[in-house]
Symmetry: C2
Subunit: 232 residues, 2 copies
DNA sequence: CGCTTATTTGAAGCCCCTCAAGCAATGTGG
DNA sequence: CCACATTGCTTGAGGGGCTTCAAATAAGCG
C-alpha cells in the first residue's frame, strides 16, 4: 500500500552513503524523480522472485529481508533501518529480488523506478562508484557471517544475532537496549531451531543478562553477550 | 615470484565479464597499463590483511581464496579460474584484502595497480558498472551459500562443495570430472571436520559415485551427487 | 471465552566432533 | 636404494550439542 507523499527532506537523506560526494544539483535531480511512501508493519515491499522494478531507501522504521532456500527453510538475511538501501543487488544486476522485504515496524521509504535509477547512474558516475562500495561492504558482511558460522555454538550464534539486531534496529531504554524480535526470527537468523533459542534465552534470563518477553528481548548486559558471542 | 612478461592477448581476456561492452580503444588503454605474471603452485598472491594494492585477472590456473576467522578456523571462500577477478572488493572499497590468495595450480595472471585501476574506472564508467554487476553476483553467491548451510547435513554440504569445485576448477576426463582438492580443503569449504569428509567420500567410493585418491576426487556420477546435495 | 500464536520444557536420539591410532603415498638424506 | 620423516587419509570409540517430537503454559484477540 504505497502512498505517494510530499518530497522528502533532501538535507536528511542525502547523507546516506549512496549519495556521498554528489553535488546539490545532482541530488536535486535524483530526489526529484524519487517517490516517498509510508508502509505499516506486516506489509510486504516485495516478494522473493518478483521482478526488481524499484530501489528503496529507508527513511525510518525497520524492514526485514528474508529468504526461502531450496530446502524450504527460511532465513533472515538482515534488518534494514534508516539510511539503508533495499534492492540494490537486484536492481543493479537486472535479476529478480533474491529476498522478501517485510515491514517489521512502520516505515517511511523513498524509492526509484529501476530504469530511472539506471539512467541516474549512467549520468552520475559517482553514484555508480558509491553503489559499488555499498555492495562491496554488503559482500564482506555476508562473507564474515559465513566464517562466523563455522565452529560456533548455538549460544555464540544467538548472541551474535541479538547483538546484530540491537545494532540494526535496537531501541535504547533506561535499563538496556530493547529489540523487537521473535524466537523464531532469531532462529532463522542463526540457522538453529527456536527450541534451542528459547532454552538459551531462558538461561540468559536466569543469569540476568537479558529480560525477554513474547516478541521482544531487552539486553541488560551487552558486554556479557559480546563476550559470549566470541566464545567467552 | 611475479615475472613480468609480454603483453597478454587482448582478444582472449577482453571477454572477461569485467570488460564487456568496452570499445577497443578503452581495452587497449586498460591492457596497456596491465602487468602479466606467472606463478607456480603453492605461491601466495597476497595474505589476508595485506594492503590491497593490486587487482588480478586470472588467465589460466587455479587460485584459492581462503580466510581465517576470529575463532582461528580457516575456511575456503572460493576457487578462482580463467576469467575471474581477484581482489575486487578490497580494491574497489579501499580496505585490506579480506582473504589470502594461494595458487593451487600454476597460474598466469594479469594485474593492475590499485590507483591506476581506480583512474581507469573514473575514465570508463562502463568499467565501474561492470564491476558493480560482478560484485553483486558475488554477493548473491555468498548469500545463497549462507542459506544452503542451514539445515543441511554434512553429506549435502560436501556434495555441494565438490560440485562447486568441479564447476570452478574441474577437468573433464573420459570417465568423469577430476577435481584436485584435499579432504582438508573440502572440510574448510563446508565447515565440517576432515574426518567426516573422509568418511563420507569413502562411502561414495563404495557406492561407485566417485573415485578418490590422495589430493583428488574423480566424479563418476555427477547427477547422483547433485541429488545428494539437494537431499535426495 | 475459545482460538491462534508465542514460548517453555522434557525426553529420546542422532549426527557430528573429538581424540586416538594406524596405514599408505611421497619425499629426503645418507 | 633403503631408512625415516612427513603428509594425507582412513577408521574406530565415545561423548555431547542440537534436533525432533510431544505436551503444557501463557498471552493476545476476536
Amino acid at each position: 500500500m504505497t502512498v505517494p507523499a510530499r518530497l522528502p527532506p533532501l538535507s536528511e537523506m542525502s547523507e546516506a552513503l549512496l549519495f556521498q560526494g554528489l553535488d546539490s544539483i545532482a541530488l536535486k535531480r535524483i530526489f526529484g524523480v524519487a517517490v516517498e511512501s509510508s508502509m505499516r508493519a506486516s506489509e510486504t515491499l516485495f516478494h522473493q522472485g518478483d521482478e526488481a522494478n524499484r530501489l528503496y531507501l529507508v527513511v525510518s522504521g525497520v524492514v526485514k529481508l528474508s529468504q526461502v532456500t531450496a530446502n524450504g527453510t527460511s532465513h533472515v538475511l538482515r534488518l534494514m533501518s534508516a539510511g539503508d538501501i533495499i534492492g540494490c543487488v537486484a536492481v543493479f544486476n537486472c535479476c529478480p529480488y533474491p529476498a522478501t522485504a517485510f515491514v517489521e515496524e512502520d516505515a517511511i521509504l523513498i524509492s526509484w523506478a529501476e530504469p530511472q535509477f539506471r539512467r541516474l547512474m549512467e549520468d552520475h558516475p559517482d553514484l555508480t562508484a558509491n553503489a559499488l562500495r555499498l555492495v562491496g561492504a554488503r559482500t564482506q558482511e555476508f562473507v564474515t557471517r559465513l566464517g562466523e558460522i563455522n565452529g560456533a555454538t548455538a549460544e555464540q550464534k544467538i548472541a551474535r544475532a541479538v547483538l546484530r539486531l540491537a545494532r540494526q534496529a535496537g531501541v535504547k531504554e533506561t535499563n538496556g537496549v530493547r529489540v523487537g524480535t521473535t524466537r523464531q526470527d532469531l532462529a532463522d537468523m542463526s540457522g538453529i531451531t527456536y527450541f534451542t533459542v528459547s532454552r538459551i534465552v531462558s538461561n540468559w534470563k536466569r543469569l540476568g543478562l537479558v529480560e525477554a518477553d513474547r516478541r521482544e528481548v531487552l539486553i541488560k548486559q551487552p558486554h556479557a553477550l559480546l563476550l559470549l558471542s566470541e566464545g567467552n
